[in-house]
């Protein structure tokens, strides 16, 4: 199964402008670079990783700065 299909199967949508997969309900976002670089197991584990759902969790290769997080949170709603 392609990594993209794993994410789409878990109700993630692709934001074309930001090149990220996101799920508003889970409040998680994966950068394209992260998805490209990590294997299927990591993607599945990250999808299943429990969070308290109060703030967005970003799966990026390089940790996004607070400024980047703020902008993405506005974009993702």
């Amino acid at each position: 199964m392609k990594k993209k299909d794993i994410l789409l199967g878990a109700d993630y949508r692709y934001n074309f402008d930001r090149d990220i997969y996101f799920n508003r309900k889970a409040k998680k976002a994966f950068s394209l670079e992260f998805v490209d670089d990590k294997d299927e197991t990591v993607i599945r584990q990250s999808i299943q990783e429990p969070t308290d759902g109060s703030v967005w969790k970003f799966y990026f290769n390089s940790d996004p700065s607070e400024g980047v997080k703020r902008i993405l949170e506005q974009v993702l709603g």
């Binding site: 670079e33 700065s65 993405l72």
Partner: protein
């Protein structure tokens, strides 16, 4: 109070500093391409085509393209201004050679790669392990040591389709959000693959006809 300058502001300023050089590179690259494909052009049969198009990347397109190269598609507001540069883009200047039928593509590719020997191949894949269109990136160093350029040789049917598809997805946005969602959506990806395949099938069918006639 004046609004604080953003990365975008700084990059737009850089763009207008670079534009004379970008134009010179495009002019040079197009001239070289025309010169080194002239013999192929002169041998074309009446129904065959070889068209050379050049373009200077537009300012907003360049800024957006650089932004989308950052993880998350965002210029980090916490990074210092001037930390991003349009010179990192590989295609500020570009030339596209459109050819029909496909066998002419190999001839043009051979002719140009013997001229641009230092350029790095960066082919556009066909999704099945092959090459849809050869593409090269490099610099025209006798014109500019900074500007990166690219040239690509594309089957004409595919190239003309790309012109329409690219404009529809990226440029004619009825809303900010709708086309972006469309482009990344499964149905659009699937349709795109089917259109490209149909055009390639036409080329293959035509090649078969040609070889039967010879």
């Amino acid at each position: 109070m004046m609004a604080a300058r953003t990365h975008e502001d700084v990059l737009r300023e850089q763009y207008f500093r670079l534009i004379p050089d970008i134009r010179r590179v495009v002019w040079y690259l197009e001239a070289e391409t025309r010169y080194h494909t002239r013999e192929i052009f002169q041998r074309l049969k009446t129904y065959e085509q070889l068209i050379i198009k050049s373009r200077v990347k537009e300012c907003e397109s360049a800024v957006k393209s650089l932004r989308r190269r950052q993880e998350g598609g965002i210029f980090d507001p916490e990074k210092p201004l001037n930390c991003y540069s349009l010179l990192d883009l590989p295609d500020l200047a570009g030339v596209r050679v459109l050819v029909f039928p496909r066998r002419r593509l190999i001839e043009v590719d051979r002719a140009l790669s013997s001229v641009f020997t230092q350029w790095i191949p960066d082919p556009i894949p066909d999704g099945r392990g092959g090459v849809l269109a050869p593409k090269y990136k490099g610099k025209c160093k006798n014109v500019s040591s900074e500007i990166q350029a690219e040239y690509q040789i594309v089957p004409m049917l595919i190239g003309l389709y790309w012109d329409v598809e690219h404009a529809a997805i990226y440029k004619s946005a009825p809303t900010e959000k709708a086309p972006r969602d469309k482009a990344g959506s499964e149905p659009m990806e699937d349709l795109n693959t089917r259109v490209v395949q149909a055009l390639l099938d036409f080329e293959t069918g035509f090649e078969r006809l040609e070889s039967n006639e010879n």
